[in-house]
């Protein structure tokens, strides 16, 4: 076997000074960050009352609850659950559609290539940001105060909170659109509306449809939870059954949600690929 020549450390050091002589601040940065992150973590554990005794007794309880959940059994309320599931899907579909319809014009106002003026764009963007900063559940509580308990409040809650998200996503899609087609329309004498309709929309519509489909999918999940505060759908049933400790029904409901979400995932995935082709996934 041949021996590799022993490395000449002195020469290596001279050749790569920046590898061997990193400043102390660069060398310490990583450990300090890790220790800091870990320190906050430990502080958090203490501050939030994590104690091993609580954890053990909780896990014990949890194990017991899990045992109680088997086998999943809807009892006699299967029809009611199916109706509730339908309600949830309706909430997701309707809420997302309403949000998309209203967000499209507003997103134009938030896009840099349509409204170049910072002064006009800034308030629109901040407005959208504030809507997004409030969770769907909070919107659901607000709408319950307005239209009363029931799935309609859920639809409006999803519509409002998605409006904020769509406004941002659509405006980003519009900003990413190719300028040349818009210029083409202008060169042939089109006005601003023509530019948007024939130059911009054909480019951004597939992206937007993809995002809307994706949101319908993710809103199926959100729609399951807004029922917990009373805005209809399967979450209402789930929260009720958890509160009365009917664990077999709880596990059945969770299974239903999982199956429904998987089905919607699959359908919207197929649709998305059919509409925008395989590569462009939002």
């Amino acid at each position: 076997m041949t021996q590799l020549p022993a490395p000449n450390l002195g020469e290596l050091r001279a050749r790569h000074p920046d590898v061997f002589n990193r400043p102390i601040s660069a060398r310490l940065a990583m450990p300090v960050m890790i220790v800091g992150a870990f320190g906050i973590f430990v502080f958090g554990l203490v501050d939030l009352d994590f104690s091993p005794a609580r954890l053990v007794s909780g896990l014990h309880q949890l194990g017991w609850i899990t045992l109680m959940m088997i086998p999943p059994d809807p009892g006699s309320s299967l029809p009611a659950y199916l109706v509730a599931l339908g309600e949830t899907l309706s909430i997701a579909l309707l809420g997302t559609t309403i949000a998309a319809v209203f967000a499209l014009p507003v997103s134009l106002l938030a896009a840099r290539n349509i409204v170049p003026s910072n002064i006009f764009r800034f308030p629109v963007r901040r407005f959208l940001d504030s809507i997004r900063g409030v969770d769907t559940l909070i919107w659901a509580l607000v709408w319950i105060n307005v239209v009363g308990l029931g799935p309609f409040a859920g639809v409006l809650a999803i519509a409002v909170s998605d409006f904020g998200a769509f406004g941002k996503l659509f405006s980003e899609a519009i900003e990413a659109a190719d300028r040349k087609q818009v210029e083409g329309i202008r060169a042939s004498g089109g006005n601003a509306l023509h530019e948007i309709r024939f130059g911009l929309m054909p480019q951004v519509l597939p992206v937007i449809v993809g995002q809307v489909l994706y949101f319908i999918e993710s809103n199926t999940r959100s729609a399951t939870i807004i029922g917990i505060v009373g805005a209809g759908g399967i979450g209402l049933q789930l929260a009720e059954q958890i509160r009365v400790l009917e664990w077999q029904k709880v596990s059945f409901l969770i299974l239903m949600i999982l199956v429904a979400v998987a089905a919607i995932d699959w359908i919207s995935g197929k649709l998305r690929f059919a509409i925008i082709g395989r590569r462009a996934v939002a």
């Binding site: 609580r54 309706s90 409030v134 559940l137 509580l141």
Partner: protein, 294 residues
């Protein structure tokens, strides 16, 4: 200026036009059909969701005036005329907000650690055995499909009221989400370093540590920061089901119609979310350059 545009002979033109019309007609028909199906689905959904436009328009004024009401103090003045009265509970609220942020931090870190330890088993290219990959993937899927607030509802019963249930719920959800995202990064990693390390006789763990981890660490941190940002929002509503944090105060204020409190708490939540958004965005930009903004 005249430009000669060559015009095809009638016959050829007619064939082309017919083909064009046929292609467009088929596309239009498909579009019309899809629109019709979509509208039918919407109508069914509207009936299912008990949409009642009359209620909506009758009470829409309530929605607008709700914002009027939450911006009015009890003595009838606008909230911003007396900041001290508006934010009378700021000490308590800031404390609970701190608890919320801490909940999401601890939950995210738990989730990141668990996700990190599971993701190599879930990735196509690094998993030691197919059955293990299948198992881990299903577990992660379960953890991220069940909404975290459902976990919180169950954990509140198991672990008692308080932020601990919230932390664990967020941790489980983050494990599912991060585990999947991490494993996707690993699947995109270059496998040549792994071969290099393996050829020196290293074990599977060493391969992961020295060949895969250096490639993917930046992506991991980026996703974890993004998840933290999302979790702050999630944690702000954990209090709705009794799992600690500012949500508890908010739900009491909304349900008991303490109007000015609602706006004050909402404003502090929105501001916190803004600050954290900007902070994580900034640190992700600093750590990994602009392109790592996933």
């Amino acid at each position: 200026m005249t430009v000669a545009v060559s015009i095809l002979p009638e016959q050829q033109l007619a064939v082309l036009n017919a083909a064009y019309r046929k292609a467009v007609a088929r596309k239009r028909l498909r579009l019309t059909l899809a629109t019709a199906v979509f509208f039918a689905a919407l109508v069914i959904a509207a009936i299912g969701a008990e949409v009642n436009l009359r209620t909506f328009f009758k009470y829409f004024g309530n929605f607008v005036s709700y914002f009027d009401r939450i911006l009015t103090l009890e003595n009838g003045a606008r909230v911003w005329t007396d900041i001290g009265e508006w934010f009378w509970g700021w000490r308590k609220w800031l404390w609970m907000l701190g608890e919320t942020v801490l909940t999401s931090y601890v939950g995210t870190l738990f989730g990141a650690i668990l996700g990190l330890s599971l993701n190599f088993f879930a990735a196509e290219n690094t998993s030691p055995a197919p059955w293990l990959r299948f198992l881990v993937r299903r577990v992660l899927e379960f953890a991220r499909t069940v909404p975290s607030i459902v976990f919180a509802l169950i954990f509140v019963i198991a672990f008692g009221l308080g932020p601990m249930a919230g932390v664990l719920a967020i941790a489980i959800h983050s494990t599912g989400a991060l585990g999947k995202q991490f494993s996707e990064i690993v699947e995109n990693a270059d496998m040549k370093p792994v071969e290099g390390v393996r050829s020196t006789g290293a074990s599977w763990i060493s391969c992961m540590r020295f060949a895969v981890l250096p490639q993917v660490a930046a992506g991991y941190a980026s996703y974890a920061l993004l998840r933290f940002e999302i979790n702050v929002r999630e944690a702000s509503v954990m209090g709705f089901v009794g799992a600690g944090g500012i949500g508890q105060e908010l739900v009491v204020a909304i349900r008991k119609f303490y109007y000015s409190d609602v706006s004050a708490i909402l404003l502090t939540i929105i501001l916190t979310v803004f600050i954290i958004d900007i902070g994580t965005g900034w640190s992700r930009g600093r750590l990994f350059g602009k392109d790592a903004r996933a």
